[in-house]
């Protein structure tokens, strides 16, 4: 039987930790959450020499073991709780060859926990370029560890790292820093009070706000013979610890590292000068956005149409092949239509995330954050608000949580309240289909009107977020202070594997997370649209036949299906809300889609696909887009016109149509007050904007 060991990958942000994880595990990985919190947990399996298997855990990036965020707490909790099933047999600290000094702080802290620790120095391919030379044997001796010099880009050193992991039992457990050096008297008392505990672990229990399984702060404080110091004293000792560690690191690097600045050919400085320029920086960013949205339309058209047509054919085939009955109808009109409503959006979402992954991997995204900080400040937001606002383009939920690292409560609250205005990927399916339906196909300066409309919606979302922030900043009377620090990683050519894995992971999340909800709602909707109370529903056939004797059989069937839908359960609900939404240019069927998409915006298209499938008696060969385009009112006017389309786009740009975001805002603000303000405020803005747009354009 092969043995399995736990390996924790730890490191500062932007050290290429995820690349090392990908290099070690390949496709043998899964993403989950830590119990009780929504912080990404990546795990994978790596085969090591001599049949040993390693269970690799990619921990969130952290600068030190002095936690200031939930992400960092996760690291400390795991490293201090031996009872945790994931407690590492060996820790691999991934560091960046260009930032060794800062990275070694975390290394020395982990080493002092007496966990076998390997130092993996990544990006070694940049050493010659940066004029860096390292004396590895000397560094190994000073740091009392084994070092793997690796480059995930050049695929070098990974085998050596695997060998070191397999031989982890040979690693020295001696600490880098004797904890008692921090304060002899205090640590002496501590040692006497807890003779069986590791001194540095006790120190972390006292100074960090987390639970560590078998040792907890209350236990320490309960012992009479030992009094903990005041917070101010503890902070002073923490600072002393950091100074001592840096003294040790400086001495070590003085001996083991040389940097020849003359050799360094720094393209980075020149690139930074252009990409963060106060005019060219914005022009370049704007141009990149244009290319991105043009690509979403140009590249996604063919695969999207193919998927749409395939599902329409499958639904038709199912209905014609299986024996007639309720379940066959559910399959053709509910399940297949619902799944089709999810699958058609895989191409645009994958393309969008491909661009985002390329921008992040190349190091450009950090420059965007830096660039946008100038704008943020003018609207009363923190520079740190840029991260939630930009990540809100993927999903508002992690974006709202990303606001946790904003120290000022006022700025954090404003960021949480305005982030859902930014265009999350769930809005993309709605935008893509409505734009394709109502915006003409021409182009301006080589850019299609459709791509320009899509980009305008992203800009509207972002602008609304910062204007709302400005107003909230004036309205909310909370005093606070904040500062902005951002790390600028070096520029890199994105690694294909990393980009591919990111796109795969994000697309999978959309398909499996949103897809499950869309499918379940499609099934419920099919039921509500296929059954109804009273004579008007149950006797629809006779009523229509009596009223329309002259009609052909096909027309009669269509009329019966439409009549039944109108008097089904869903029809009754839709008709009840129609007076409220009619001024916006929507009929009761769109009204149903608005109600169901409150669960998640992307449900909108799936809902219409299900309703239109049930409401037509003809074959189901028609695609979702064609069905929507063919939808007319009783007087023959089209339902989806430029006016109603723009009204819908604006409604979705502003409305808080996401139950999960409301739940996360409640959790982050610890009150229902803020999510309710958010819901009412955003819905009002959406309703007014849609109303004005439709009334002006109709």
């Amino acid at each position: 039987m092969s043995k399995q060991i736990n390996v924790a990958l730890i490191g500062n942000p932007n050290t290429g930790k995820t690349s090392v994880f990908n290099a070690l595990t390949g496709l043998n990985q899964k993403v989950g959450n830590y119990p009780g919190i929504t912080v990404d947990k990546k795990e994978g399996i790596c085969k090591l020499p001599r049949g040993v298997k390693a269970h690799i855990i990619d921990l969130p990036g952290t600068y030190s073991l002095n936690a200031s965020s939930i992400d960092e707490n996760v690291v400390i909790e795991l490293l201090l709780n031996k009872n945790d099933k994931d407690f590492p047999d060996v820790a691999v600290v991934v560091s960046d060859v260009e930032n060794l000094k800062r990275n070694l702080l975390l290394f020395t802290q982990i080493k002092d926990l007496e966990i076998p620790t390997i130092l993996a120095i990544n990006m070694s391919d940049r050493m010659a370029y940066k004029g860096i030379t390292l004396d590895i044997p000397l560094l190994e001796k000073e740091l009392k560890t084994k070092i793997a010099l690796i480059s995930t880009r050049k695929k070098s050193g990974i085998d050596q790292l695997k060998d070191l992991i397999a031989n982890y039992k040979e690693l020295s457990l001696s600490p880098s820093l004797d904890a008692s050096e921090i304060d002899n008297v205090y640590f002496d008392k501590l040692r006497k009070a807890f003779p069986n505990q590791l001194l540095y672990k006790l120190w972390l229990v006292i100074t960090q706000d987390v639970n560590f399984g078998n040792v907890d702060r209350n236990e320490v404080e309960a012992i009479n013979s030992f009094k903990t110091k005041s917070n101010a004293d503890l902070k002073r000792l923490q600072q002393k610890e950091t100074i001592k560690r840096y003294q040790f690191i400086n001495n070590t690097l003085k001996k083991g590292q040389t940097i020849d600045l003359k050799t360094a050919k720094d393209l980075r400085i020149r690139l930074d000068r252009i990409l963060t320029h106060k005019i060219f920086g914005y022009v370049i960013f704007f141009a990149i956005l244009l290319v991105m949205f043009q690509a979403v339309y140009d590249w996604a058209t063919y695969p999207t149409d193919f998927i749409d047509e395939s599902f329409a054919s499958l639904a038709n085939w199912t209905k014609n092949t299986l024996p007639p009955g309720a379940f066959t109808n559910l399959l053709a009109e509910g399940i297949i239509a619902g799944i089709g409503g999810v699958m058609v959006f895989i191409p645009p979402i994958a393309i969008l995330f491909l661009f985002i992954a390329l921008l992040e991997e190349s190091g450009y995204m950090s420059r965007v954050v830096f660039l946008m900080d100038n704008i943020m400040k003018r609207f009363g937001l923190s520079g740190k608000s840029v991260v939630p606002l930009i990540s809100g383009n993927a999903c508002a939920i992690p974006a709202v949580m990303a606001a946790r690292n904003i120290e000022s409560w006022k700025e954090r609250l404003i960021t949480i309240l305005v982030t859902p205005f930014t265009t999350c990927s769930a809005r993309l399916p709605v935008y893509v289909i409505i734009i394709a339906l109502v915006i003409p196909e021409g182009s301006f300066l080589g850019l299609s009107y459709q791509a320009l409309t899509l980009m305008s919606l992203y800009i509207i979302g972002f602008m609304t977020a910062i204007i709302s922030a400005y107003i909230l900043n004036k309205v909310l009377k909370i005093k606070s202070k904040s500062y902005f620090v951002i790390e600028m990683p070096g520029y890199k050519i994105p690694l294909f594997k990393n980009v591919a894995l990111t796109v795969l992971e994000k697309t999978k999340t959309f398909v499996f997370e949103a897809g499950k909800i869309i499918l379940a709602i499609s099934i419920v909707l099919w039921f509500l649209a296929s059954y109804g109370p009273g004579e008007q529903f149950n006797d629809a056939e006779n009523i229509i036949k009596t009223e329309n004797i002259a009609l052909s059989e096909d027309d009669l069937e269509d009329k019966i299906a439409a009549h039944k839908l109108e008097h089904s359960y869903i029809g009754i609900v839709g008709k009840a809300i129609e007076p409220v939404i009619k001024p916006l240019g929507y009929d009761w069927k769109i009204g149903i889609a608005l109600v169901t998409s409150f669960a998640a915006r992307e449900v909108f298209v799936g809902t219409l696909a299900t309703i239109y499938s049930v409401g037509s008696a003809g074959d189901n060969e028609e695609t979702i887009k064609k069905k929507m385009a063919a939808e007319v009112y009783s007087n023959g006017d089209k339902v989806f016109t430029l006016a109603s389309g723009i009204s819908l786009l604006l409604f979705y740009a502003f409305a808080m149509q996401c139950m999960s975001t409301l739940a996360i805002v409640k959790r982050e603000t610890n009150s229902w007050k803020w999510p309710m303000y958010q819901l009412v405020g955003m819905t009002l803005i959406a309703y007014i904007a849609a109303l004005i747009a439709f009334q002006l354009m109709k």
């Binding site: 939930i70 009955g325 309720a326």
Partner: protein, 47 residues
């Protein structure tokens, strides 16, 4: 017979879908996992 089976399958699918949605949006309580650690509790001090 065929109609009966089709109806049963359809209604089971609808019931499962409703159950899933109620769970997903917190209307029904979620089952706590046995491996739940200190961090999952409100009083653990890490929230």
């Amino acid at each position: 017979m065929n109609t009966l089976v089709q109806n049963i399958l359809a209604f089971v699918a609808v019931a499962l879908a409703i159950w899933f949605l109620l769970h997903k949006f917190g209307v029904l309580p979620k089952k706590k996992s046995a491996s739940s650690k200190a961090c999952g509790k409100d009083d653990c001090g890490c929230h």
